[in-house]
Symmetry: C2
Subunit: 206 residues, 2 copies
């Protein structure tokens, strides 16, 4: 069977653990690649071009937009962030499922262009657990935590646009559920039209 | 989270192994129940009322139809077959996923009444493999095998109505793929509206 990759869009509340799930998923299974975003912000210490981000100038970014070289992009705190199309399409062609960790505006831009993309929204098991995780980091002020929590309320309005919610209770279970969702998606008839046609032809010849 | 059961409809080519997959699935996981059909045909030796089928008279069957007591039904070789609604709805309420092994006409009747039902179509890895399995049974004449194969061609026309195809290559893998599909389905936002509303409320109170 000729397997083509799927785009998986992952959003979720800050602190729900989407990054951790995706890191564990890509470490466990070869079939996934994390998309690398382009950004105009400066690299932070330890960040490498082409690993965390593709670091580009404003001019380069605007050229990418003009050439339709980005699947989605958004401005955030004075900088651009976007998903380079070429990286994603090369992976899909090679049969690799590509994971995009982006917010809802980007998610909807992707779904418009790639209706067969699978949209996941990662949630904590409860609001109290989310607060606990945010406080547990110990790195953020009370005010920042409040901001993140009230931002979560805003984000929760868009959940209905997603195909699946993933509750991050136990990390390994959440990883397996995400893997199950994507494996299931590969079984949609529209993704297997060639296989279905082929088996029909073969049956008729028997 | 208040988990409600899901209806899973399973169809597939004769010989593709759908019965074997479903038996292995229900043996492995507690969350599934196989729906038991009502039929007007006589029990065969070894069959028990309420285990393989509910064996009913023509009058009883027609009463079930008249009372809307069947989710779907069909006539086949002079006898009625149908899925009693009560059994299915009791299981769903108890949080059990109910598996219906039925053909495409029945599958479409179910989808109409329960749009959130998940429709699976089990296929062999190839037409040659299907023929091999049918011949391997050693119980059927060449003519019956030919009939089954040409029937498979007809059935393959309806595959596009299903949500997922499941290729039965290695039994354990197929069982896990089916389990993954159903687990994924439980994560649809419309099935988790209460949970989403609850977490939103909690977040607003924090």
């Amino acid at each position: 069977m000729n397997r083509k990759g799927i785009i998986i869009v992952v959003s979720g509340f800050s602190g729900a653990g989407k990054g951790t799930i995706m890191k564990a998923l890509t470490a466990k299974y070869d079939q996934y690649a994390l998309s690398i975003s382009a950004t105009t912000r400066d690299p932070r210490p330890g960040e490498q071009n082409g690993r965390e981000y593709f670091f580009v100038s404003n001019e380069e970014f605007e050229k990418l937009i003009a050439e339709d070289g980005l699947i989605e992009h958004a401005g955030y705190v004075n900088h651009y962030y976007g998903t380079p199309r070429k990286f994603v399409e090369d992976k899909l062609k090679a049969g690799i499922d590509v994971i995009l960790e982006i917010e809802i505006q980007g998610a909807l831009q992707v779904k418009k262009q790639y209706p067969e993309a699978v949209l996941l929204f990662v949630m904590p098991p409860s609001a109290a657990e989310l607060e606990k995780r945010l406080r547990g980091r110990g790195t953020e002020s009370d005010e920042v935590i409040r901001q993140r929590l009230s931002r979560a309320v805003e984000e929760s309005v868009g959940i209905e646009n997603y195909d699946y919610i993933v509750i991050n209770d136990i990390l390994d279970d959440a990883v397996e559920r995400v893997h199950g969702i994507i494996t299931a998606a590969h079984g949609a008839p529209e993704r297997n039209a060639d296989f279905i046609a082929e088996i029909r032809d073969e049956l008729e010849k028997l």
